[in-house]
Symmetry: C2
């Protein structure tokens, strides 16, 4: 599918992507670069890696697909850094959890370059981080959102669509702004609620946690995610996240008022609405 | 350990308990009663059941342990109903998710009777309901809270402690009031947040849910719980649940203010506090 794919930032997503690409034969060569020398040394041992470079510029040279898998705040600066080294007609994408800022700035960065940037957001991952937790099947049966701009070439969209589909993903394309609105609700809000619940419970008696059942464990699992990465995501998607928090606060207020007013039908109605929604989420 | 155990309400918890009791040989006979004739008919086929009765009074006759496994609002009325049929010195417990109301009223109900009521709350279960989902290992490695009153006989506490311990649980004893404060935070608050998040997302574009990853699935899993059961739990523990909601709202407000003020260190601090708490939850 591609001659050479460069993966910049082989963490959980980047290394999983490299493994999946190798396993499915989607590229002849997989080249990588990591900021940390220790990570670069580790990559040398991995079968999913054909070459490791000391600079991102060297790593992207000659690649027809470049995937930026670094934290969201570093994606655009990294794109600016590799710009002079990008091959003609190269396709550049990322796996970041926010898109408006990144796609808008990436267009400016690649102005007057034949390379194309098209944002991707594979809705896969876990609360774990790092190459050690990488797995080749991470992307299978998960959703992936592409965020083309009005002037993104159709060929780039088709290529990237085929790439993620070949990894077992289900593709959807929306504008970067719509993407950010959607993920503020279905990803960033759940994450910050898990973090906020955990943070609140941390202010209570610490022995209580020994009594918790599976409900608390599941509800808060994603609060174990990397605070540094999530701080960047919440900042980059600040406006939409604040809107989602407002909506959640209103819904919580509805439930609180129903409890205060002994309004059992209203409490039941909210619980039923929640159950219906949850029961219809796909289980994979 | 017991000659005969009666389990009233063989749903997920009751039927799992019967299976576990049989498997571990904790009673010579297991007797049951269910409100619904269809459930009673099903019980007849199960190996964990030695006898099924058409009335709860018949079912408890001659039992030295009676476990009330019905929805929380029916526990005290059911206790009043079986009172005349309870054996001398019988030990009666329940598996309800709330305790203050139940234990206070149960004491009055059993006044002038030689039987003892002592509340139990095994922190086990799932979002699924019904005998069909019962499993003998449901209680293993989970916590169980006993809620004795000042005048609960030490012998009853010791017996029930030994019973749940024999089922693989880790026991803690606190007052019914303290229990309700604790579970408002570690169980009822997580549940209502999962329900409220799901209920809020149900008001948004329905196609968004097809894009959700594992984070939303885990965070909302318990929202699939039975709305009828949970309405009763939230009502019975209303005061403590409202206090827990207030605390959560304040924490959410802290995060919102930090985002509004571009206060990255405050956002990171909350995420870190949440991660530390979550990382220390036991994994079983």
């Amino acid at each position: 599918m591609f001659q050479q794919i460069t993966i910049l930032g082989p963490g959980l997503l980047g290394a999983s992507l490299a493994m999946a690409v190798k396993q499915r034969g989607l590229a002849t060569r997989v080249v990588t670069w990591s900021r940390r020398p220790e990570s670069r040394a580790k990559c040398l041992d991995r079968t999913w890696c054909d070459a490791v470079h000391d600079t991102p510029e060297d790593a992207v040279a000659g690649s027809d697909l470049v995937v930026l898998c670094t934290p969201v705040q570093t994606i655009v600066p990294l794109l600016a850094q590799i710009r002079p080294a990008l091959a003609e007609q190269a396709l550049v994408t990322d796996v970041g959890s926010t898109k408006s800022l990144i796609c808008r700035e990436a267009r400016g960065t690649l102005a007057d370059h034949s390379a194309t940037f098209l944002g991707s957001h594979p809705m896969a991952g876990s609360e774990q981080a790092g190459m050690e937790h990488a797995q080749a099947d991470l992307f299978e049966q998960a959703a992936c959102i592409l965020t083309p701009l009005d002037d993104t070439p159709a060929e780039a969209i088709a290529k990237l669509n085929a790439f993620w589909t070949a990894l077992g993903m289900t593709l959807t394309a929306v504008s970067p702004e719509k993407h950010d609105e959607i993920v503020a609700h279905i990803s960033h809000l759940p994450h910050l609620l898990a973090s906020t619940l955990s943070s609140y419970l941390a202010t209570q008696d610490h022995t209580w946690r020994n009594l918790a059942g599976g409900g608390l464990r599941d509800t808060t699992r994603i609060a174990s995610g990397d605070p540094g990465l999530w701080k960047q995501i919440l900042e980059q998607n600040r406006e939409e996240v604040l809107r989602a928090i407002d909506g959640m606060e209103q819904e919580l207020h509805t439930l609180k008022a129903a409890l205060l007013n002994h309004d059992a039908p209203a409490v039941t109605a909210l619980l039923k609405r929640g159950k219906t929604y949850r029961d219809q989420l796909r289980q994979s």
